[in-house]
């Protein structure tokens, strides 16, 4: 019985671990994934489920033609290594795509992207 209780405790601890995945996944973003915003955001911020290695984690924002429109400063936050930022200029109305490729501190690489739209 004691062994069962210990096993259940370990399982619960593993399942309830604070970060969602050992691989770094996008938890949420601002602007939100797939959203339409009324006003052009001044920067894109992404929150990940794992701490990232700054030297090997990249973030960029592209316009509808695939041109990079951010200030090419996309990277990991100096104080919180689960967060990435990229500074944006005054974006014209249209669709934009955020792309990232990150290396988590346990050496797993993940990549992905999402779109958002600026209405005006």
């Amino acid at each position: 019985m004691r062994r069962v209780a210990r096993s259940l405790f370990i399982l619960a601890a593993l399942a309830a671990a604070p970060s969602a995945f050992a691989h770094a996944f996008l938890d949420h973003a601002d602007p939100r994934v797939g959203s339409t915003v009324d006003h052009a955001p001044r920067r894109a911020t992404l929150w990940f489920t794992q701490q990232l290695e700054p030297a090997f984690s990249k973030l960029k924002v592209l316009d509808a033609n695939g041109n990079e429109v951010d200030a090419k400063d996309g990277g990991v936050d100096a104080h919180d290594r689960t967060v990435m930022h990229a500074t944006l200029p005054a974006l014209a109305p249209g669709k934009y795509r955020v792309e990232w490729r990150v290396l988590s501190t346990d050496t797993h690489v993940t990549s992905g992207g999402f779109t958002f739209e600026v209405r005006r």
Binding site: A20, A22, H23, F25, D106, T110
Partner: protein, 310 residues
């Protein structure tokens, strides 16, 4: 040492470690969960402990229908980033009109080689072979006295490349396999108490596995943030089809199950619960259930057991 060489070495070490890690259930931005009833196309470091199922098996020949509870363990280990081996064992408890039988089924060994990966189109393909090792289990629970070798092709495809007009279908993904089960003997002859001989034929079989899943993590992270939070943002509704058909030596009908259920992918473990619905009377009666606790060894031990050996 100067800063540049140190950074260079760190980069080399990090990328060397990261390269192998890509193999674990990923094709581009797509995370494929481990499936329960069917085999997925990934070469990975994973442990299923346990997989527990309960279902009613159909009567076969002189054998009456039995209520079967199975508990199994499966371990998959990468040798290289694209080649891995698997081993599995299953304990069975069968209860029927003739009493209760308990014991281990035959051991299973397998190997898989991932030969294709297209990250952009979230596509993957592998070939593998499974060896059900005859005479390694208990005859009382029906473990065969002959071996069956099953070469198979495995594929996976995520639909993240669908056009934006179909964006809510992008979280869909499909994995599947087709294999040919080849028994080591064409038949087994038995002689009863009266000296009458009878021969049971062992046909070749076509084995088909299919899993269709809708990934809520994919929806949240890559398509549209619909506001799901834990634990719902980690759920993956799934339906699996596990089918088999003998095609020679007294071929029989298709048998198999359809398994609708839910997977929940956490940081180190995945939980899965599925109903087990027989496709016909030849498969069995009533709806069963299967539960699985699955460990991501490469996430638990990324710098030791969770790495490819070579």
């Amino acid at each position: 040492m100067k800063e540049v060489p140190v950074r260079f070495m760190l980069a080399a070490v990090a990328l060397a470690g990261a390269q192998g890690a890509l193999a674990h259930g990923f094709a581009g931005q797509r995370f494929f969960p481990a499936t329960i009833a069917t085999d997925d196309p990934f070469v990975a470091d994973e442990l299923s402990l346990p997989t527990v199922s309960r279902r009613t098996l159909a009567a076969e020949g002189d054998s009456p229908a039995v209520r079967e509870t199975a508990a199994s363990v499966d371990l998959a280990k990468r040798i290289t980033s694209s080649f891995g081996i698997e081993v599995g064992a299953t304990w069975l408890d069968q209860r029927g009109a003739e009493g209760t039988q308990r014991g281990f089924d035959n051991w299973a060994l397998g190997a898989k080689y991932q030969f294709y990966l297209d990250e952009r189109h979230e596509s993957i393909a592998s070939v593998g072979v499974d060896w059900d090792m005859g005479n390694t289990g208990a005859k009382s629970v029906g473990a065969e006295t002959f071996s069956t070798v099953t070469p198979a092709l495995f594929v996976g495809k995520g639909f993240g490349d669908l056009p934006s007009s179909m964006q809510y279908l992008r979280p869909l993904a499909l994995t599947g396999s087709v294999g040919i089960g080849m028994p080591s003997r064409s038949g087994t002859t038995t002689v009863d108490e009266d000296g009458n001989a009878s021969k049971e034929l062992h046909p070749h079989t076509v084995n088909v596995g299919l899993a269709l899943e809708y990934s809520l993590p994919y929806l949240q992270s890559f398509v549209k943030d619909v506001g799901l939070r834990e634990p719902f943002n980690r759920l993956i509704p799934i339906v699996e089809f596990d089918l088999s058909k003998p095609y020679d030596r007294g071929a029989g009908p298709w048998t198999g199950t359809v398994n609708p259920g839910l997977l929940w992918a956490g940081r180190y473990v995945q939980l899965g619960l599925e109903a087990v619905i027989p496709v016909n009377h030849a498969t069995g009666g009533g709806t069963g259930v299967v539960f699985q606790l699955h460990f991501f060894i490469d996430d638990l031990f990324p710098k030791s057991f969770g790495k490819p050996l070579l």
